[in-house]
Subunit: 284 residues, 6 copies
């Protein structure tokens, strides 16, 4: 068979998936190695653009932990964590916001637009997109927020006119103050508020394991109920809890499918979206 024919066959294999997600919204939580490794980064940008051009409304949500810590270090501040959450005093919050909304976010936007995309970077303050209040679950650890409301109007406006929204996980409080919110949670809430068809969480693991030490126990597919039980049973890894939680939030609000995929694999987004094999763990 000639290569061109192989190419054609592969495009044809993607057809049912393109058909299914045409004119649908897919929220992608971008994070981990895929935000650090230059090759992975470039591949994600291509994947997002391809999804955009085949008629999928992609909404990209990102955090940016490592860059924040680096910036803090440069300013002589020591990161401090309580229960996995960054202790965020006013000065830290300012750095968080500058890095997420001013550097990481605009970097992604520039990368997409250089390749012909029409990306627009937003923080939760723009159009009061993400409203939060102080999260006191771990005591007072500063400007760490809990999402209370999503105002998706601005996203609808941008999607309707063909833009790709790229959203950093900074929220606005009732008095206009900034909150550092978990990007996984934001992705889940946004998928729910937008009535997305799919939520994809990019991680640095292959997916969810029934037994973390047994690499053969990777779960290909599970129900919301099973996902919930992994948390309550204490089986799920600490860092995985907000990701699983985001999937549950999304699914309980009408999102059809949520996926936890391995962002370390090049083009993992495309593989998940457009091939029979899929990748990682699907929650439905």
């Amino acid at each position: 068979m000639k290569t061109t024919n192989i190419h054609a066959e592969i495009l044809i294999q993607a057809l049912p998936y393109i058909r299914r997600y045409y004119d649908k919204t897919v929220v992608v939580k971008y994070g981990g190695n895929a935000m650090i490794d230059e090759n992975l980064k470039a591949a994600v940008m291509q994947d997002v653009l391809l999804m955009h051009y085949v008629g999928i409304h992609v909404v990209l949500v990102h955090g940016g932990g490592p860059e924040i810590s680096a910036a803090m270090a440069r300013m002589g501040k020591e990161p401090e964590f309580v229960g996995g959450l960054r202790v965020t005093d006013a000065e830290t919050m300012e750095i968080v916001e500058m890095v997420l909304a001013g550097k990481t976010n605009k970097g992604i936007v520039a990368h997409l637009n250089r390749q012909g995309g029409r990306a627009v970077g937003l923080s939760g303050k723009d159009g009061s997109l993400i409203v939060a209040e102080k999260d006191t679950a771990q005591g007072d650890i500063g400007f760490v927020g809990r999402v209370t409301t999503i105002n998706p109007g601005l996203i609808h406006t941008l999607i309707k006119d063909g833009y790709i929204p790229v959203i950093s996980s900074v929220a606005i409080g009732a008095d206009g103050e900034s909150y550092n919110v978990n990007a996984d949670t934001v992705a889940g809430e946004l998928a729910a508020a937008l009535g997305a068809s799919k939520l994809i969480m990019m991680t640095d693991v292959e997916g969810i394991y029934r037994d973390f030490n047994d690499k053969d126990s990777l779960i290909a597919e599970m129900s919301t109920r099973e996902a919930q039980s992994l948390i309550t049973a204490g089986v799920a890894d600490k860092g995985m809890i907000p990701k699983i939680g985001a999937c549950i939030t999304a699914l309980q609000n009408g999102v059809e499918r949520a996926h936890i995929i391995d962002g370390r694999v090049e083009h993992s987004l495309l593989i998940e979206m457009f091939t029979n094999e899929g990748i990682g763990t699907m929650v439905r």
Copy 2:
């Protein structure tokens, strides 16, 4: 490299082409072996659907010579040709129309719709889409027509609402009579009237040869002027003349590119649309 990765790479290779033809109109003249061989036929249908789902407005034009001759034979009529044109008395015209508009056309429509497409079959009578007058270039050979006007309104209506128009080469005359018109010519005129971006002519040859006997002389790309000279110099094959003519008509009316491709190659449409290699002869 894992297969899924190869798959992703190939999808990514298609990205620039998807981008370029997003929301653009492409007229495809469907004919030859690709209408007879069941595998080729199925591949064309998939190609058209993929183009449709990545946001290209495909308009399919078809003739149907062999099926017409078969039907005539069944009715005990002997086909007769003058200068390559079918002598078309009233009875023959009726058969032509029944076969093209009632059988071939609806067969294509059914094939596309079974796979999730939203195809609509039309003849030139619908919405007075193709208006013709008697063609007397070869003397009076009956209801053989020369296209005088294209009324593209109906096609715009259907495209706007996401339908795939499939058009048979039957035209309407000033008194409501039917004309048998050349499907290649119709494709060229439609591409011009619709302001299409591309015209693709499916044939049973590899493309245009500078010297038909030298298979190494295949022309990858040529200008309208060169195409014109192939006709005037008498180099072009008889059956190829209306195809080259259609390309010239289209290009002179603002269509960006016209292609003569080898319909005997599976997925030749996709290869032309979405790969770096392309296929056949391009006129620009």
Copy 3:
């Protein structure tokens, strides 16, 4: 009184009917003598155009029994009927489809368009308009179908842009195969699916008789219940049963009025639509 004044008075008489059906949909089942006699045919076309121009959305449904039998004869096939239904093997189905969708349908379209109409001919395959499954009520008699779904989207698209849909009674099956379906039934189902205001069945009788042998027993108006009882009581003529059934289907799905009219009367459509007298039998 001068003739012009008489003319004006008659136009004025039509006013309340024009008002009532302005921007409403009326499904007309076209058939019988009105499809054969040239004068009647011309009158129907004028009636449809007048209805169109006074703001009524006319949808024309037709069958074409006699032309099918003629074509079969020409191809040396003997028509065969079981319980009033044509036994339809694959070859017959091909002829049925060619005649209905390729000849009869396009002939009506050409007739309307020659007089300034904007008709578009469709079969049930276009836009998957009429979906059917095999009808086994009389055993296996081939590709005779029972309507299962109407997808009216294409008709709405065409009506919105001012086209007159002309529909032949060919349906599409789950695997893309063709089915021969009863045109009366299609008219009733379409009227129901489109939310039409009126369904008009053109026949070759004056209307429904309470006693077929007593020409004075013509029913001017009856309820759905009475119509139903005519069928169950076995009073209704065999050929009339699907027509009465279509009226009942339409009325039970919100159509306001259904009429069985005498298509042998010139301009019977206009008389029904625009005069105080009306014509034939009305079911409400």
Copy 4:
């Protein structure tokens, strides 16, 4: 032939005219006996409604001389005319406006709406529709105005939403003052500003005569140039001059045809619009 058939034939005769004026604007100057005689009045209302329901955008312009004089008499004021124009002091202007905009206009509106129309009465003040300045051609005769600007926006708004505008010949001046303007002139200016297809002037004569004393010299059709020469040659009757002038204004601004018809004939509007005979004098 049965009467119903005759009725149908007459409706069919109207078809080409309905087709030609579908979705077109026709300005009608309503006046003379047709505003006084109750039967004529009722017939005009029916004609306007029929035109409305067959898709013509009718704009009705009216004056109201006799009713004004009657109201003035009742208030003990003596009408006074200079050169055919009513001398209009402030008190007279108030009466003119009350009668035209408050009585005549609303009377027409009520008449149309009672029969299912959607008429809206306007004076030239509404939406600053008709702007005028003092007409000093006959010296200072008070609030007699000369139309300087038509602001047709409000009429377009109403037509788009399916209303029938009924307009009284009162204009607004630069300081908000009222002007009495000639209704014939207003009709011509409005037809021009609206890009109407037709202007119809209802009068109390059969049309324009080449020689007023020779009733056989009625002109069926003439050019703008001939119309102009009738005025300059002094042949045209005084009261006819503004009517002919309105026709010329309209035609010079793109209106296709202007008609001077005999409003004393019942349904003269319909006869002009929808029959082969037409009526009165056409200027083209």
Copy 5:
């Protein structure tokens, strides 16, 4: 502080009110001294324009008692009242309509338009806006009507295109006859039918007093229930009853707030709309 700064501060004070009523509908009943005193009149026009320009959809309703009586006097007719209602024979009704719809209404329209507004004057006949039947509560006192239906379509059409509707209190009956209806009642019914946010009744008193003789008993704010009890307890002044009734009608149909304000105060509308103090009595 420099004057310009004071100016700015005052504009800023208006901001929350502008924000709250942006793109909302406010029905204003215009009447009393504010319609007679030239300064007050000019101030009302400015207030309405300012409201219009800051994005509020103002609908102005007016009566015109004094002008009607003056016109009747001029025509030698003696006004006669029964139970506060004007006995309205046919001749009186004609005068009422001429004055309200022809003089008062068009005067307000001209005043607004001279200052750049886009006002359109309507009576209840236009678009069958206000439908009434004979009010026989006081026996047969002629063409005095009771509102039965509001058809708000025309008002929505005008508002959508940026016009200011000015409405006189004349209604249309089932046979097209005119009815004299209470302007206060019309304002209340219109506010209800339009889904207005606010109803403002301009009067010649400071507001509602708990005890009319005690000027200190002015009620700043009360509930619908309290308003109702003022009527049933007989405390409310006769002329105030329809005003309070209009407020109750409006509030019971979803209008948020109704106000009875002192029209004798210059710019009372603006003070009510845009300052902290407010003015008069608010019913909620």
Copy 6:
């Protein structure tokens, strides 16, 4: 006069200005003390909101020199200037972008949204709004850019849906790199590209002086030609040159008026927009 009346009078004074700028675009360059002093800042936010609510499309452009220098100091970098331009190495550019797009911009957005606005913060990267190339006028001083293209599509999208765009002066280069561009210049270019009606430059001086040392020589109004001559004659202060240049750019591209106002005066924006006095220097 009661205070409320004074208030009303002042609102009324603003009416003609509200009228003139209704549905028009006004670009405001926000900078200087008005960005530092908390009272001034709050007043600007109120002014912008008031403008927004009276129907003006405000587009806010800002730089942020002092905050950039502060952040650099904190990171131990010494600011360096050549010819008034900040030498911008890669690390500095990163800080510039983080401060402008991540801190200053989002701070303004949060301030507006807390008060009910619908602000959206953008940098020139979003939607490729501001495209620049390296500015080498002063030699290679790093990522200092010269605006080459404005893509205003995103701004139109946001304005149409009622958002207030807040834009930081960071541009995107051909390879996706960031450029530091002059905010004054950006404001001028944006006003030109958007077809704004007005450009307002907030400064820390009273306006333009004919002789900087003579405080009485403040220019109230001047032409583009005079503005140009101030630059060429070397009279204009260094920091004022880009501001004057922005005014000239805007005016030469169809903006009606440009203003250089004193941002140190509270509510200077409102004073300029809505009072007779105006403020600062107007270029027309």
